[in-house]
């Protein structure tokens, strides 16, 4: 089959671009699917442990733990909005707008990390470890630190990634696809938190 025939053939018959996306975007989507499996397995194992335990700890009072976790959710959701606006600015070629919105996104991510680090220190101070805690099932600590730690690492990496893209866009080194792909990663980090927040925090709210 000649090159022209391949290009003209339908997508499912080996068309040159069956997905009609760039290689970076396709690569990022495939990475996100594999990352979803990692987070999905951890979340489901946490749900399993929660369901199978009659003494699962409920250490989070509405104030301050749930209030701070809600604030963290607000930070991530707002950073997703600013990221969407950054991609929109990139699409219309507004480089200054891209840098501005990405910096706001980074601010949201940094606020999330600071608030979460504070939550970790608080729980460690109360004696929670990945293998034990003062209240009940030892799997609580493993679930909490495992899930939120992996997520926080993603947020931390994401903030650095955003910084690189903001710098590259400001200098004119980066294309629209780079900003869009970076946006996919950031929205995914937000998406994962939409599962972690209810499962880890809201399922362990202290009784009134």
């Amino acid at each position: 089959m000649t090159t022209n025939n391949v290009l003209a053939s339908p997508a499912w018959s080996g068309g040159a671009s069956p997905y009609a996306v760039g290689d970076k975007k396709l690569g990022m989507w495939l990475f996100l699917v594999s990352d979803s499996l990692t987070f999905g397995s951890l979340l489901i194992s946490c749900m399993y442990a929660r369901t199978a335990s009659s003494n699962w700890p409920t250490p989070f009072p509405m104030w301050p733990s749930i209030a701070f976790a809600s604030l963290m959710t607000f930070c991530l959701l707002t950073s997703s909005l600013t990221m969407a606006l950054a991609v929109a600015a990139s699409k219309r070629g507004d480089r200054a707008g891209v840098v501005k919105y990405i910096l706001l996104t980074m601010l949201g991510g940094a606020a999330f990390i600071v608030l979460h680090a504070r939550e970790w220190m608080h729980l460690i101070g109360e004696g929670v470890r990945p293998w034990s805690n003062p209240w009940g099932s030892p799997l609580f600590g493993a679930s909490f630190f495992g899930l939120t730690g992996l997520h926080m690492f993603h947020v931390f990496s994401g903030v650095i990634y955003l910084g690189v893209i903001a710098l590259g866009t400001g200098k004119g080194w980066r294309t629209h696809e780079d900003v869009e792909v970076c946006g996919l990663y950031w929205h995914f980090v937000d998406l994962v938190w939409m599962f972690i927040f209810p499962l880890i925090y809201l399922m362990s709210v202290a009784p009134k």
């Binding site: 997508a11 499912w12 069956p18 997905y19 009609a20 996306v21 396709l26 989507w29 495939l30 699917v33 979803s36 499996l37 999905g40 397995s41 489901i44 749900m47 399993y48 442990a49 929660r50 369901t51 199978a52 335990s53 009659s54 003494n55 699962w56 509405m62 749930i66 809600s70 959710t73 607000f74 959701l77 707002t78 997703s80 909005l81 990221m83 969407a84 606006l85 929109a88 699409k91 219309r92 099932s137 030892p138 799997l139 946006g183 996919l184 929205h187 995914f188 937000d190 998406l191 939409m194 599962f195 927040f197 209810p198 499962l199 925090y201 809201l202 399922m203 709210v205 009784p207 009134k208």
Partner: protein
């Protein structure tokens, strides 16, 4: 900025508000302890799936991609994650037996 871009930015803002609203619903459910833990987990996870769908469709623009890409990415992921739920009857059995760790 064109009219289309204005409309898109307005849509992003509305999606953000909906996501915040759904998070608020989750918070109220948790605060009021409306359901038993099992039912609560089910309701919260369903709400999370709705939120994840909104993020993928509007923020990640998956709905605007070619169907071939969506079909390559999502069904295998959903299938594999669904298979993991096959372990759950065992979790319920442990709970009803009252077995402690």
């Amino acid at each position: 900025m064109t009219n289309l871009e204005h409309t898109n930015n307005r849509i992003y803002t509305w999606i953000w508000l909906y996501l915040l609203g759904l998070t608020g619903v989750e918070l109220v459910l948790a605060y009021q302890h409306v359901f038993t833990p099992g039912m609560m987990m089910l309701v919260l996870m369903l709400l999370s799936v709705v939120k994840a769908g909104m993020i993928m469709n509007w923020f990640m623009h998956l709905g605007s991609e070619r169907v071939t890409l969506v079909l390559t990415l999502l069904p295998p992921l959903i299938l594999v994650l669904s298979l993991l739920f096959g372990f759950f009857p065992d979790a319920f059995r442990l709970f009803h037996l009252g077995v402690h760790q």
